[in-house]
């Protein structure tokens, strides 16, 4: 209904292969990105930035990472929390060992560290598939968490076993540590997720994305076409872990401020996986939608009884939250197993074809 596509013909492959080939989409996305950089820092309160927007952006990044691996390359992973931990601990070690290193470089290097570990744990994917692989990635999850817990070197021998984000600046603005404003951390997180969402889009629409999807859809046919499975899967593991690593570093440096290994336990892996599934497998947009859903749902559930005027014990509320959370997940899977991105897609198609149904 809103879309007006008649007369917008493509005269080059470049415009036909653009990320957003439809003008309205392009305009909307650009405006949305600009608005995201400008509006919330000016308008949103600290609670919104700190409790909702910053974690949303960080988890969106992690979800994109997992989506590349699971949604595009078809390799189910439950080790996300572990890879995020690698990023977080690498960032901590790097900032303390090289205090003058730019925080941006620290994040990127942490991502690389996570990528290296991801590659290592991706090796079994050559031999095993599906749930066997998923279970194998749990090994990464448990082993890595155990490692960071046990080896005091990772926490610089802190007696509390926690890692803490020091103050670091970008262009003279403090973006991490206790003195950074929520707005600065928000912009930092947004900048990262914007760039890496774009990178993800670029990867999946090109050579690499196609080889991932080929492996996902028909691994044998892909091999016979010339896709080398190990190389392709490992690349997916590496890139995915890079994203998760950066997200892990951000989680500590931009959101929590300090953390123990508990912040990266198996539940974290499930949380990100939920985001990917609820958002939509094989969709970058879906990663954002899924992250928003999973971040907002508990907040909503926590506030619901209060706003309804119900008073209940903390334990009871927690239990009810769990039930509703689980129930809603089931509900969503049943209503739209392909996730929010598919709903979005269907809605968009409807608008494009309106008044025709298809």
């Amino acid at each position: 209904m809103i879309y007006r596509e008649a007369g917008r013909f493509k005269t080059s492959y470049a415009s036909d292969q653009a990320i957003f080939p439809i003008v309205q989409d392009r305009v909307f996305v650009r405006a949305a990105v600009v608005a995201a950089f400008v509006v919330p820092p000016l308008v949103a309160g600290d609670y919104w930035l700190q409790a909702i927007l910053i974690p949303f952006l960080i988890y969106a990044l992690a979800a994109i990472g997992l989506n590349l691996l699971t949604g595009y390359a078809g390799q189910l992973s439950l080790g996300t929390g572990g890879f995020m931990a690698v990023g977080a601990y690498s960032a901590f070690k790097l900032t303390t060992a090289f205090p003058r290193l730019s925080i941006i470089a620290v994040f990127l290097l942490s991502g690389l560290a996570a990528a290296a570990i991801g590659l290592l744990f991706g090796i079994p994917s050559l031999r095993i598939k599906g749930f066997y692989l998923a279970v194998a990635t749990l090994a990464a999850q448990f082993f890595l968490i155990w490692l960071f817990n046990k080896v005091a070197w990772f926490t610089n021998y802190a007696s509390s076993g926690t890692i803490t984000a020091p103050d670091r600046t970008v262009l003279g603005v403090t973006v991490t540590g206790p003195n950074a404003t929520a707005a600065a951390r928000y912009v930092m997180a947004l900048a990262f997720v914007t760039v890496f969402a774009l990178v993800a889009k670029n990867l999946v629409r090109g050579r690499i994305g196609r080889s991932w999807m080929a492996i996902r859809d028909r691994d044998i046919a892909a091999e016979i076409i010339g896709v080398r499975p190990l190389r392709t899967k490992l690349l997916a593991f590496g890139i995915s872990s890079f994203y998760c690593g950066v997200a892990g570093a951000e989680l500590v440096f931009l959101y929590l401020g300090s953390a123990e290994t508990l912040a990266f336990d198996i539940n974290q892996s499930f949380l990100v996986l939920f985001m990917v599934i609820i958002g939509g497998l094989g969709s970058v947009l879906g990663s954002f939608l899924g992250a928003a859903f999973i971040i907002l749902l508990p907040i909503f559930l926590t506030r619901l009884p209060h706003s309804l005027g119900l008073i209940m014990s903390v334990a009871l509320q927690k239990q009810i939250e769990l039930m509703i959370f689980g129930g809603l997940i089931l509900f969503f899977l049943i209503v739209e197993p392909h996730g929010l991105a598919r709903l979005w897609q269907i809605g968009k198609e409807k608008l494009r074809l309106w008044p025709f149904p298809h």
Partner: protein, 262 residues
């Protein structure tokens, strides 16, 4: 499209046997496919035709015998290496990537021709972008060739069967193969679709000089378009020659009559 290549057969299969446990699916089969030929492999169900193709693709490895491509032994190569030599194929039960569009499916056929530069690809910039667009242009020529313009953006999984087969052929052609293996390219098609497919196969052979080995049940098609016919039965080769001769061969008649009354 192809460089001047050495003389002699493109593909030589020499005494190849493939077995699964106790079952010998292909039993000491030898055959050779000459450059530019269209060779049909026929035989009753379970004769080992697909298995033989799989062995050529590198998907199964023979436990005895030798497979040579353009004179070089390649018996033990893995499928991606076989593909890199210039052998492409289609599958008996269409093996398209269902989650991808027709265009992307065919683009996967170009993967071997594309060079990786990860960082540039991440930025979709410079040579990486150029490479994408160049290969798109090439793929569009194949889309044009196979007359599938109207469906290029359709998800492959949503296409009717006949078109899926055509897209699969397009994907194989995108690799610019020297040898094209077609596993029942016309199975399940109606007469019109079959005629189209025959025309495409002949055109590929004529236009690009591609050597083609195909498995086909429709004897009319085989007689029409093939230079040579190889007949398998119970994993063994029972005949090999021009279609007109093979047609009269007693062993072939027996094998076919045997199954005709099943």
């Amino acid at each position: 499209m192809s460089h001047p290549a050495p003389a002699g057969p493109v593909l030589e299969v020499d005494g190849v046997s493939v077995r699964f446990g106790a079952l010998i699916a292909v039993n000491q089969v030898s055959l050779s496919v000459g450059r530019g030929q269209i060779v049909a492999i026929i035989g009753p169900n379970g004769a080992g035709k697909t298995t033989l193709l799989n062995a050529v693709s590198g998907f199964y490895h023979p436990y005895e015998g030798r497979i040579a491509f353009e004179g070089k032994d390649r018996t033990r190569l893995q499928p991606p290496d076989v593909a890199a030599l210039g052998i492409a194929r289609t599958f008996q039960n269409v093996a398209l990537f269902k989650g991808m569009s027709v265009l992307d499916n065919i683009m996967t056929g170009r993967l071997l021709k594309m060079r990786g530069s990860f960082l540039l690809e991440a930025l979709y910039w410079g040579p990486a972008k150029r490479q994408e667009l160049e290969h798109r242009a090439f793929v569009e020529r194949i889309i044009d060739f196979l007359e599938i313009q109207a469906i290029r953006k359709t998800p492959a999984g949503r296409l009717p069967y006949g078109l899926q087969k055509r897209v699969e052929l397009a994907r194989a052609l995108a690799a610019e193969p020297k040898l094209l293996l077609l596993d029942e390219p016309m199975a399940g098609m109606n007469v019109e679709e079959k005629e189209d497919m025959c025309r495409f196969i002949l055109d590929v052979n004529h236009e690009f000089g591609t050597t083609i080995a195909l498995i086909e049940h429709d004897m009319g098609v085989v007689m029409d378009i093939c230079d040579r016919v190889v007949v398998l039965d119970y994993g063994r080769k029972i005949a090999d020659g021009p279609p007109a001769e093979v047609r009269k061969d007693q062993a072939v008649l027996d094998a076919y009559l045997g199954v005709a009354h099943e």
